[in-house]
Amino acid sequence: MCGIAGLIHRGKSSNVGNELQAMLQALKHRGPDSTGYALYADNDGENFIMRFKVGENVGEGSSSVNEDESVYDKRKELVDSMLKNLGAKVIKEEKLTPYSYRYEMKYDDDLMEFSKKIESIEGVEILSIGKSLELIKDLGDAQAVLDRYDLGKVTGTHAIGHARMATESGVDIKSAHPFWGYPFSDVSVVHNGQLTNYWNNRRVLENKGMRFMSECDSELIAVYLAEKMRNGASLEEGMKDSLSGLDGVFTYFVATKDSLGMAKDTMAAKPLVLYESDDLVAMGSEEIAIRSILPQEIDTYDPFDGEVKVWQI
């Protein structure tokens, strides 16, 4: 089933960490397996933030194979060595969990080649790269992930998130949403639905040099949009193209450094409730997600089939 939520403050910054947590917690019944946040934070915009994992969460409910944690340190050392070889300068590093890190770094070259090199290290996956994007995903509900990664204090302009019920791939971080729009910095995607032409699209995109890290059908949306943008399409053009290029049922959100978009399939098979005012757009799979941050009486509506909308900060 899965639940998705997103919000964008226009013209101001807010505590998006706590706001998104409240929205996703309200949707917990739609997906208790894992929770993900893509927060567009008030960073200085100078350096890249790279979040990556060197292993999986093998806690209760995980479908991942248990590994000796000593391999995590070895993989981290290999990442550090690779970064040095690539000419990336690490300004600050944080160990968030035994299996995940947040690096602040300077890097000026091609992100696609950079990502390929880093992810050539066995067991390493880049969760996101961006100058404002902070992408966090892990097993557990919204409160558990917020606490584990200390997201309550994150302020920013916009955010999207996902409460996942695993249906077509494992209960693990690599299959959790949001997905980073590799190789673009600051692009993230969350999705509710099923894509039925996943393998056909994947084969085509892999032949074009795009990478898939999971077998989750939702990852296709991020890669599909990234490939469109790589060829010069705007975000909105890519999203409109996806209505015919992606087969199946879907409502998805995509966010960039300064925008937030939604798309709904032509069958309108997946839910979405939308609230829009001059200074705030909030949307989610169910009204209760919006109510969790706007308890007063407000006007909301369901976008129609085949609708694509994009808002700027």
């Binding site: 919006i290 909301t300 369901d302 089939d305």
Partner: protein, 284 residues
């Protein structure tokens, strides 16, 4: 296989596009039998007084607790219950099988007032997916917008949304009337079997797709017709009936009903087996 035979003498209802067949062969129509009255017993029905009014704040209640409380209040004779702070919660007001004035001061989530039989409901907000699903009788008025599957499988009563509604409005509708003041999404009237839908605004693609019977009236533009949905001429009976219904619904006061488009089933896709017509006639 049941035989479907067209009757020669048309009734007023048939002239409006409703069913025009009688069932013969193995099929038998079932009628209410007083001897089987016990089979029609509803648990939880009470004598209530509409003048006995109470407010119920459900802010700190979940849907089960709230619905149980509504039942308790009806058992105490309250005939007008005002629900405060519904906050988009799911499944509020479901299964009310009683006469009752039920007023929601706010918005509902999914499955609001589903499977009701008899109450008059006013919702001063919006509703999520599947509002009034399987409604048997009564009247539901929504002041704002509604989500998808609005009035799914309704069997009777009036379901009115003053705003716009999502996709698949009136899916599997088996009776009653659905009235929408604004626009409606794709697949409106999908597989509907009986009853009528009035949309004053525009509708999306695949209107009336695979409908078996029933009638859809559209005031605005139609995205496209679904399989086996065809246009039919508006009659004076149609216009008079819609005007009366809109007056009852308190919307579309100055709406030009005569320019609406009437959509009915082409009836080329029917594929009943021997049993389905029996179920159909018994259920509707």
């Amino acid at each position: 296989m049941a035989n479907l035979k067209t009757t020669e003498k048309k009734t007023k209802a048939q002239s409006m596009g409703l069913h025009s067949e009688v069932l013969t062969g193995k099929t038998q129509q079932k009628f209410f039998n007083p001897d089987e009255a016990e089979n029609f017993y509803y648990w939880g029905t009470y004598d209530v007084d509409f003048n006995k009014r109470i407010d119920l704040d459900v802010n700190d209640l979940d849907c089960k607790e709230a619905n149980k409380k509504i039942d308790e209040l009806m058992s105490q004779g309250y005939g007008t219950i005002v629900i405060k702070n519904p906050q988009g919660k799911h499944s509020l007001g479901v299964g009310v099988l009683n006469k009752l004035n039920l007023i929601f001061e706010g918005s509902l989530g999914y499955f609001g007032v589903g499977s009701i039989d008899g109450p008059t409901v006013r919702i001063n907000g919006r509703v999520g997916w599947s509002c009034a699903e399987n409604m048997m009788a009564g009247k539901v008025v929504i002041e704002k917008n509604a989500g998808s599957c609005f009035g799914a499988a309704v069997r009777g009563g009036d379901l009115i949304c003053k705003g716009s509604v999502g996709a698949r409005t009136g899916i599997d509708q088996k009776g009653g009337t659905i009235i929408v003041g604004g626009d409606a999404g794709a697949f409106t009237g999908f597989m509907m079997q009986r009853g009528r839908i009035i949309i004053l605004g525009n509708v999306g693609i695949n209107l009336g797709d695979s409908m078996y019977d029933g009638t859809i009236y559209v005031g605005g533009k139609i995205g496209s017709f679904g399989s086996d949905a065809i246009e039919s001429p508006m009659t004076k009976s149609d216009i008079d009936w819609i005007k009366r219904k809109l007056k009852v619904a308190e919307i579309g006061e100055n709406f030009d009903v005569s320019k609406m488009t009437k959509v009915v089933a082409g009836k080329k896709l029917w594929n009943y087996d021997a049993l389905e017509p029996t179920e159909k006639k018994g259920a509707i």
